[in-house]
Symmetry: C2
Subunit: 204 residues, 2 copies
Amino acid sequence: MDLAVLYSGGKDSSLAALLLERFYDIRLVTGSFGITDDWQHAATAAERLGYSFEAVKLDRDVADTAVTTMIEDGYPRNGIQHVHEHALEVAAQLDVAAIADGTRRDDRVPTVSRAQAQSLEDRHNIDYLSPLSGFGRHAIDQLAARCLHVDTGSSVDIIKSDYETELRTLIADRVGSEAVGSIFPAHTQSYVQHRRSNKTEETQ
Amino acid sequence: MDLAVLYSGGKDSSLAALLLERFYDIRLVTGSFGITDDWQHAATAAERLGYSFEAVKLDRDVADTAVTTMIEDGYPRNGIQHVHEHALEVAAQLDVAAIADGTRRDDRVPTVSRAQAQSLEDRHNIDYLSPLSGFGRHAIDQLAARCLHVDTGSSVDIIKSDYETELRTLIADRVGSEAVGSIFPAHTQSYVQHRRSNKTEETQ
């Protein structure tokens, strides 16, 4: 069964794929608004992990609406949620039996409620899986450290492929690059370098 | 890292173990109030799946309180929740790095909220994992059919080892066996027979 995992090249979406690879034929899928070429970093990470990869086009209007929301709010949460919901809708229209994302139990954003999950499943006749939603931050960090070699740093330094870079670019176009940091503050990000072998290799 | 999975011998807790076995050293743990010997069915299922097994003693007072609640309510939900929370507390005191259960996204009972999960983790210095909480009913049925050979039937016919048999026995002692069916109605249950090989073996 084919499964599309919404993929950023980061720790969480990589671990989501690892958790599911035993059960599904994994395709890592990265959405892009066509604003930057940062999706290519996800393609590189996917190749390193040994997964097939697909870039999918997201609706530029969704990015514009998200950025308007973020500027009006003064914080990124609702805009990120809007983009994530759109990306799930796009992934659900691929020719797959199931879609998944790296949403974690302790995430405040994006979140996918049970009602949203069931709506996605019913409208698109797919399964929606959030394999990390039963894991807390400590367990995820521990599993990632054992299974993956990951670079970690500030989101303005780490190269990866979530929507953040494109949205920051749009915000800078609207309100100037000096305002981006207050609307969309830098936070810790990760980028996967390669797999570690298995559970017997203790790394922490 | 050692992980204790609360185990009934059924489909959900077996699948929870399969999802986590790549990352943890799995121990299947079945709680018993000492009222019946039904925990032995879980031990048999664990052996068939190739996992180590441990029976743990649950507090008889918890069973009595749960049954009182179920009789007063006229339905089992709150009583089951009370017993499950107790079983998690007992498992969390084992010498393990993490505990897990087979709680699913679409379950109405038992449920473990994010706050309850974090409280368990903080008080016992363990991780609590609910690996099926990001999976809907359809996906779980499909994965179980591909990975496990399962007998399915009414909960009064299927032999397994959740708390149900012991609680039904207590209810019968209190209010008579003819009243058990209305307080704790029969529902579909599953009992695992053996593993199927892997994702390449399509079974449905």
